[in-house]
């Protein structure tokens, strides 16, 4: 299974590492442009209201204010902020500015001024009269007859042929069935039917959203954006503003984290209009509060699971019903909901499967893409119910999983039936290290061994969850790369793929170096700039290593062929055939003779000697599979029966991501995802008042884990080889965020016998559940 590599599968130093730790000014905000103006956004204090009138005269008169934009003076163009491929599987229900506001935090007016302070002063002078409408906050209420209709405008639509019924707040719907669920469920020995709820959460990248725009020397619009999707950003900005694509350039410098919230075209339209109106550089940076309230969140979801199984442990029937809350706008509404089924249901062998998904509009903060993308929410419900089924049968919960989980060479009807806005792509599992993950995890956590508590009033318990994700969206997403050779034997590697801290520039450089027989130090990666780098859908759907990695591999192969061709034109290799040549140590070598030519000589010959040309190539790649990475999470908790407080003692997360191109970076992805998942499961929570106002938009009151909160965390990479991936690689970035909710919930049950069906597992919630159990 293991193959020998030179650069791949080694933990080379991150190519941008020293620049980042030296504090070089590499982020969007680290440039000073003369005369730069600032944007501040006045937002809605109401969850649902029509703007009756808006008066900006006094605000405009304030010294230092350059322009103010509202729905009255900016074109109304329906679009989606979801940075997805075109046409997007998300409804065009958003306008740069709206007549009607749909959640507390919705855009009302943008002030462009000399300073942020002046803009804030001006905001106070804007007079807005609202006609307040009844609001609806829960998706269950939103789809009831008679609920206030949130998108009652005539011009919203979804650009692909799928269900969309805004007249009843139904933003998306999908239902598919394989086999006969009802019959199989009815005939099963054991039946479990449970509803789980996943709560609101925010991505919390350390760098909030930011965009700086300016006109270049030819009056083209340059946008420097903290984005995961530079090409979608350019396209959607063009759509909203009417500026042709050829007159927009989007630059993605280093990005301070994204996790999905920067797969959103959130600021660019307003900045573009501001630059057009003023002719000046303009900056818009969200505050942390705005990041919580007005950017994007995870889709809160009710997930109902029904599982029917036989006494011998075989699963007969599985049903997943999802009711997803997209908030006021439908960004990723359909695809996050679909992903609940497509990334969770195939994990278990079963012939009779039904998936039913609805996404509702509500007057709540807007959800979007968030690492895990529906699988997080669905795995919570599924993995808790799987444990409950096993317990009902009287089987060990790990043994039950071993017996039923998908294995190499097997498929699932769900792969074919459930895609992103259309049918899926049939596939059978190639590499699968899930059994090894389970084995490693069992050993690490000492599964089956009950440890005594540290104090008499505490109880210990262990829990498990197994997971899969995908690697890219098959037959939809495309990545490409461009490589050119330089005289010193180095190569420029230009990619639209966006390294947002993930390390993809490093990983993709390693792939290029492996093919080209050089080291990553001789690869100069650059991502991304829509003027210079070839198209890539961007960093999402766990795609970059698998998808763009394959594009880089193909491009490097092409360059390699050109190098061989040049070598044949040069004296020493005249009589050598291409079949005998290979690249090693930045040289062309021959298997049969002992001659070598250095890359430097090759490039100099190609550029200056004979039949001159630039050694360069550009290749693209789409995938026909989305091979899942696998993991098994194990956790031990200690629950204080007097307070309900849950302490994590140990968390174990082995992951099969195929070949880890850079093991230390792959491991870092796993650890980061696990800790984000734990944080979501234990402490992160949005609090709202009865008017839909979020009450805790800051890190003091929205608690994300810090160093002192860390449990003992053990991770490892389980070696497999995915034949369809570049050098055997699959994805790694998302999967490990999905385990904490179910694994911890299962451990709490093991410790104190209560099943908590909604996060976060706060002391209060656990305590009340224990109290309820005693009754």
């Amino acid at each position: 299974m293991s193959k020998k590599f030179k650069v791949v599968k080694t933990s080379v130093e991150k190519v941008d590492g020293y620049s980042l730790v030296a504090g070089r000014g590499v982020f969007v905000d680290d440039i000073d442009l003369p005369g730069m103006l600032q944007i501040k956004m006045l937002t809605s204090p109401h969850a649902h209201a029509v703007i009756k009138s808006i008066n900006i005269k006094k605000a405009e008169a304030l010294e230092g204010v350059h322009t103010i934009m509202t729905h009255e003076n900016v074109p109304r163009i329906p679009h989606t902020t979801a940075g997805q491929g075109f046409p997007e599987p998300s409804p065009y229900d958003t306008y740069t500015f709206r007549r009607k506001v749909r959640f507390v935090g919705d855009r009302v007016a943008a002030v462009v001024a000399e300073t942020e302070e002046i803009a804030e002063e001006a905001m106070k002078l804007i007079e807005v009269e609202y006609d307040v409408l009844p609001a609806v906050f829960d998706p269950k209420d939103a789809i009831k007859e008679g609920a206030p209709i949130i998108h009652d405008e005539e011009d919203c639509y979804i650009p692909i042929p799928v269900a969309y019924e805004p007249e009843r707040n139904l933003c998306a719907h999908v239902d598919v069935e394989a086999g006969d669920f009802d019959k199989a469920y009815a005939e099963s020995d054991v039946q479990v039917d449970r509803e789980y709820y996943s709560h609101y959460a925010q991505h919390c990248p350390m760098e909030p959203h930011i965009c700086i725009g300016y006109p270049d020397e030819n009056d083209r619009l340059v946008l420097r954006v903290s984005t995961q999707v530079p090409f979608h950003s350019r396209r959607i900005t063009a759509q909203c503003t009417g500026i042709p694509i050829r007159k927009i350039r989007v630059i993605k410098p280093r990005i301070g984290g994204g996790f999905g919230t920067k797969q959103e075209v959130l600021l660019e339209d307003v900045v573009a209009f501001a630059v057009m109106r003023t002719g000046r550089p303009v900056r818009w940076a969200l505050t942390r509060k705005e990041e919580f309230i007005s950017s994007r969140t995870r889709h809160p979801q009710y997930v109902n699971i029904k599982i029917g199984a036989n006494k011998d442990g075989k699963i007969n029937a599985m049903e997943m019903k999802v009711l997803s809350n997209t908030g006021a706008y439908g960004s990723h509404a359909l695809t996050v909901m679909s992903n609940c089924g497509s990334k969770v249901l195939p994990l278990y062998r079963c012939k009779n499967i039904r998936f039913w998904g609805d996404t509702a509009y509500t007057n709540m903060p807007v959800a979007g893409a968030y690492r895990g993308y529906g699988a997080t929410q669905a795995a919570f419900a599924m993995e808790c119910v799987i444990s409950e089924v096993a317990q009902k049968i009287g089987m060990d919960t790990v043994e039950f999983r071993k017996m039923n989980h998908i294995k190499s060479g097997e498929g699932s009807p769900i792969f074919e039936k459930l895609g992103e806005g259309k049918e899926g792509v049939p596939q059978t599992i190639g590499s699968c290290g899930l059994a090894e993950c389970i084995e490693w995890g069992e050993k690490e956590i000492e599964w089956g061994k009950k440890n005594p508590p540290s104090e008499p009033h505490k109880r210990r318990g262990k829990g498990v969850a197994i997971l899969m994700q995908g690697s890219s969206v098959p037959e939809i997403d495309m990545g490409s790369a461009f490589i050119k050779m330089n005289e010193d034997g180095s190569f420029n590697l230009l990619m639209g793929a966006t390294d947002l801290g993930t390390g993809s520039d490093t990983v993709l450089s390693q792939i290029a170096a492996e093919v080209l027989g050089t080291t990553e130090k001789f690869i100069i990666p650059y991502s991304s700039d829509t003027d210079f780098t070839p198209f890539d859908v961007g960093a999402y759907a766990s795609s970059t290593t698998y998808l763009t990695g394959s594009a880089v591999l193909k491009t490097a192969e092409k360059v390699k062929e050109q190098i061989f061709g040049v070598a044949q034109n040069m004296g020493p290799f005249k009589d050598c055939s291409v079949d005998e040549m290979y690249l090693e140590d930045a040289q062309v070598k021959c298997k049969t003779c002992d001659k070598t030519i250095s890359f430097s000589d090759i490039c100099n010959f190609a550029m200056y000697a004979k039949d001159q040309f630039q050694i360069a190539a550009c290749e693209s790649h789409i995938t026909h599979k989305s091979p899942p990475p696998f993991t098994a999470h194990f956790v031990e908790v200690e629950v204080d029966t007097m307070t309900g407080k849950v302490d994590l003692l140990k968390y174990v997360a082995p992951v099969d991501c195929g070949t880890p191109i850079n093991p230390i970076l792959a491991d870092g992805q796993t650890q980061g995802a696990v800790v984000n998942g734990i944080s979501f499961a234990l402490t992160e929570e949005y609090f709202f008042n009865e008017k839909g106002v979020m009450l805790n938009p800051d890190f003091n009151n929205y608690k994300i884990l810090s160093t002192v909160d860390m449990p003992e965390l053990k991770t490892t990479l389980i070696d497999t080889y995915e034949e369809t991936g570049p050098f055997g690689a699959k994805s790694v970035s998302e999967i490990s965020i999905n385990g904490a909710l179910p694994a911890i919930a299962n451990a709490i049950y093991d410790a104190v016998g209560v099943r908590i069906n909604n996060g976060p597992f706060t002391p209060e919630k656990v305590y009340m559940a224990m109290k309820e159990l005693k009754k």
Binding site: E13, G17, A22, M206, P208, G668, T707, V708
Partner: protein
């Protein structure tokens, strides 16, 4: 008003407004390593050393710092000659997006100045105010312990 600051061992005479925050003054003076993540003292990305102590520069009025000695991460080391802490962050995979790195490196520096041989618990406590959403902290803690070991040898 005029403000004298010793930034990274170099005297600066700056023209500031009385209400200016230290973070903004530093960034305006070209020290872009000092990051903004919350402006309310909760994320730690703007951490600098103020007279040797790690503080959130978004909570400090610049005007209160007359004559103070300030160190940003630019003073630690360069790309070519990194400080052992910076080197350890790269080698141990403690840098992902890197946005929290300058602040966390300075908190680590302040700790090691005081305790050259900290325990894991002491590292965790010293870095508690420096949030990171990318790494899950494991590699950061490993890196700091490794750097402290290297600096002692």
């Amino acid at each position: 008003m005029e403000l004298k600051l010793n930034i990274n061992d170099k005297l600066h005479v700056l023209d500031i407004e009385p209400g200016d925050l230290l973070v903004d003054v530093l960034r305006k003076s070209g020290y872009k390593s000092v990051k903004i993540g919350c402006r309310e003292g909760t994320c730690g990305t703007c951490t600098i050393l103020l007279n040797g102590n790690a503080v959130n520069s978004c909570l400090v009025f610049a005007a209160d710092c007359e004559g103070a000695s300030i160190h940003s991460v630019e003073s630690l080391g360069t790309m070519a000659e990194p400080h052992p802490l910076q080197e350890a962050f790269v080698k141990h995979g403690a840098t992902q997006c890197g946005y929290c790195n300058p602040g966390s490196l300075l908190s680590a520096k302040a700790l090691l100045n005081e305790k050259p041989d900290p325990t894991e618990e002491e590292v965790k406590e010293a870095l508690d105010g420096n949030l990171c959403r990318c790494t899950g902290y494991v590699k950061r803690i490993e890196a700091i312990l490794a750097a402290s070991k290297k600096m002692r040898s």
